[in-house]
């Protein structure tokens, strides 16, 4: 071999772009076309306007940096045992953009928080002061999502936050802002406990069936 390979700009550009194209093809294009075929999971409802607004508050306040929305399979982790719900499937995220899968569990997974904690009062109060409900919690409190009013100034239109007695101040009442109201509506929509797929017969099932007989 007399011709020497020279790392010139041509081989560099071509090689670099081939590598990137391969990666982009496998990791972006194929998932892109695969997900085109995905249908919304059976039982999944689109967000209401209020819930979508709340989802934007969730993004603004960066909830995703501490909370995931992707329960793992029981074989891998005890997520289901913790009450976080069944393992999630692609169809569960049909209406989600941006996705909020998350990468941290400084706090618990929230994919089924509404099923686990359906109380609106709890959510409102917990956002106002998490430590009033969960001692030792390191979740930020969000006083700026609420207004504190003199109790006599509270009108019928105000949404009152019912705090535990030791956290309530005499003569003062905490009421929600539209942001807190929307955020809680979103949190209360996070219920994916429906069963997303038609039952698929797998080998294990047949065996267990015959074993049952």
């Amino acid at each position: 071999m007399s011709r020497k390979f020279e790392m010139d700009e041509k081989s560099l550009v071509i090689g670099a772009m081939v590598c990137l194209s391969l990666a982009t093809g496998v990791m972006v294009l194929i998932p892109y076309f695969l997900t085109k075929q995905i249908q919304p999971a059976k039982g999944l409802k689109p967000y209401t306007v209020l819930e979508a607004e709340g989802r934007n508050v969730y993004i603004s306040e960066g909830c995703v940096y501490c909370h995931s929305q992707q329960p793992r399979d029981a074989k891998q982790a005890p997520d289901t045992k913790r009450g976080w719900g069944r393992v999630s499937v692609a169809g569960d995220y049909y209406y989600d953009s941006p996705h909020l899968l998350g990468t941290m569990r400084t706090g618990p997974d929230l994919f089924n928080i509404a099923a686990r904690q359906p109380s609106k009062d709890w959510h409102l109060g917990h956002l106002y002061q998490p430590r009033a409900y969960t001692p030792g919690s390191i979740m930020p409190s969000y006083p700026y999502l609420f207004d504190v009013k003199k109790t006599e100034d509270v009108t019928k239109n105000d949404e009152v936050v019912n705090l535990p007695p030791e956290y309530a101040k005499a003569g003062q009442t905490v009421v929600t802002t539209p942001k807190a109201h929307a955020l809680v509506a979103y949190l209360l929509s996070l219920d994916h406990t429906y069963s997303p797929l038609p039952a698929i017969p797998v080998q294990g099932d047949e065996q267990s069936l015959s074993g049952g007989r």
Partner: protein
């Protein structure tokens, strides 16, 4: 054939064919012996001459003695090549100065944003009434300033400084890069303001609203102009390994950044895969190549000896380009994505051991026998520390991608520690070293207070050690607690508190180190402080002066 099997089999075939092609071409000597190429960063009589502009005269003397060769002084030091280098340095003076200054400012802002985030994790009610300081905003502000402020501007500054030297030609079109750097910084500034006010695109590593991203894309493209102009008008034939890394990084980044931030294109699970394709590639195909380019230049340059085996660096480059670009899926292990996607990424994560080992072999044999240089060269101390952290974080990352280990570390602070091992321990440390080397050349002025360089090093080293060690342990225990269904979730929160406090202490020391660095940087930039030896330019005049004094 099953679709999953087809994809895996296809990738396997491509990898194997590439490997055999590579072995074939190596064994047939198609790459040449690599010797002249590795020596191209030196002038003809420069080999064996150590060089660290950041060192004090006594350090320089010791550095040269340890290298085992006396500096001989003759007219060759006035050669054309050195002149070309002086011209090259002259042409980058302004643009590099601007990039590095902006980078240092971003570094300080990023440090405080990081420190506030850290404190908030154990003092959740601290400053709770200020919306932009809530954890969920100040944390992405920290990440984005590091990822798009400090790291790229430092990296681009260092790259634009190295390029003309490596191509032995003056930088052409520096003003495009100045404009680009300005637009880029404006984009980062506006992006941070947007996040602070709750306007975020919501994806990690891609939070800036896409409208603002346009500024970064245009700015980035403008920064690329002088690179290509200079490359195409260069005076040398061969491209040194650092140039491959820099050129590839500047090619890859615009593609990555544009694809991930393209509005209204991605949705649902596919968006998650794009998110982490980008999230890991911005590390692997942008910061890492620039960091490695710096290592490949500064280590041999300071030591005055060429890279041990130039051909292995080729293997390292292509292996990095191929494997690193496909590792992103390991961020979604256990998530609702196809299993072939995850498996592919895990495999390539493990394959990353190849380029890392290539780098280790190369650098180890280059430095071997002259470890004492670390005592006398501030530049080398930072760069070699960065190099070792690259190795550590890469190997750790490969194993962290394995399902068994990932199940514990995913969703915990362990990942945060790992990220800092890479972007701080490796990249930032290498950048510190490079800046210490570059500034004296850039300003024709010596670092006024050498003791501040040492102070900076030890503050960030100790702070970083505290940060990494305690947060890794805390994260690991957190992961174990979460996997134990018998323990309530709150256990995993409570047990991390002391480790999070330790992280704050480490982070505070690092911040202090950065303040020392920034103060020193600006004293230098304004040419204040004691004039110790005068201008630190290379040139016969100065060398002769030192020589007479018996300094070198």
């Amino acid at each position: 054939m099953d679709f999953n099997v087809a994809i895996l089999f296809g990738t396997y075939l491509v990898s194997i064919i590439a490997l055999f092609l590579f072995i074939y071409s190596m064994s047939n000597g198609m790459f040449g012996d690599g010797k002249p190429a590795s020596e191209m960063i030196f002038d003809k009589d420069e080999m064996g001459h150590t060089e660290d502009p950041a060192a004090t005269p006594s350090q320089r003397k010791q550095l040269q003695i340890d290298a085992g060769k006396k500096l001989t002084l003759h007219q060759d030091l006035e050669s054309d090549e050195l002149d070309a280098r002086a011209v090259a340095d002259q042409s980058t003076h302004l643009v590099v100065g601007i990039c590095l200054t902006l980078a240092v400012i971003w570094l300080i802002l990023a440090s405080f944003a990081g420190l506030i985030s850290s404190i908030k994790l154990h003092e959740p009610d601290w400053l709770n009434s200020i919306p932009w300081l809530t954890f969920g905003r100040i944390r992405p502000i920290h990440l984005n300033i590091v990822a798009y402020g400090w790291c790229p501007l430092a990296g681009i500054g260092v790259s634009l400084w190295m390029l003309p030297r490596l191509l032995k030609s003056p930088l052409i079109g520096a003003r495009w890069a100045i404009l680009g750097g300005g637009l880029w910084s404006l984009g980062v500034f506006l992006g941070v303001i947007a996040i602070a006010n709750g306007y975020s695109d919501g994806m990690e590593w891609a939070e800036f609203p896409w409208q603002i991203d346009i500024l970064l894309v245009v700015g980035g493209a403008l920064i690329g102009i002088p690179l290509w102009l200079t490359l195409l008008n260069r005076k040398v034939k061969h491209l040194y390994v650092s140039v491959w890394y820099i050129a590839a990084a500047l090619l890859w980044f615009p593609v990555l950044f544009t694809v991930v931030n393209f509005p209204n294109l991605h949705v649902g699970i596919e968006q998650a895969t794009v998110n982490w394709w980008f999230g890991h590639n911005v590390l692997g195909l942008f910061y890492t190549p620039i960091g490695l380019a710096s290592i490949y230049y500064f280590v041999p340059k300071v030591l005055g000896r060429p890279i041990h085996n130039y051909n292995i660096s080729l293997l390292g480059f292509w292996a990095l380009a191929f494997f690193y670009s496909q590792v992103g899926g390991h961020h979604l292990i256990g998530g609702p994505v196809p299993s072939w996607f995850i498996t592919l990424s895990i495999t390539q994560s493990i394959m990353m051991i190849i380029p890392v080992v290539a780098l280790v072999i190369n650098q180890y044999w280059t430095i071997k026998g002259n470890w004492r240089a670390l005592l006398n060269s501030p530049t080398l101390r930072f760069v070699v520390f960065g190099l070792s952290m690259y190795v550590l974080s890469s190997i750790q990352g490969s194993f962290e991608a394995l399902r068994s280990i990932n199940t514990i570390t995913h969703f915990t602070h362990f990942t945060v520690a790992h990220a800092h091992l890479g972007l701080y321990g490796f990249f930032s440390m290498v950048m510190f070293g490079a800046i210490y080397y570059i500034m004296p050349r850039l300003m024709s002025w010596e670092w006024p207070y050498p003791s501040l360089i040492a102070l900076h090093f030890w503050l960030v080293l100790i702070g970083f050690a505290i940060y990494i060690i305690w947060l890794s342990i805390g994260g690991w225990l957190q992961g174990l607690a979460m996997l134990d269904a018998a323990r309530p979730f709150m256990d995993s929160v409570r047990l991390t508190i002391p480790y999070l406090q330790a992280r704050t202490i480490g982070g505070a020391l690092m911040t202090l180190g950065h303040i020392v660095f920034a103060v020193h940087f600006f004293i230098m930039a304004w040419r204040k402080g004691p004039r110790r030896l005068g201008a630190a330019v290379i040139g016969p005049e100065l060398v002769a002066k030192y020589f007479k004094k018996g300094v070198i």
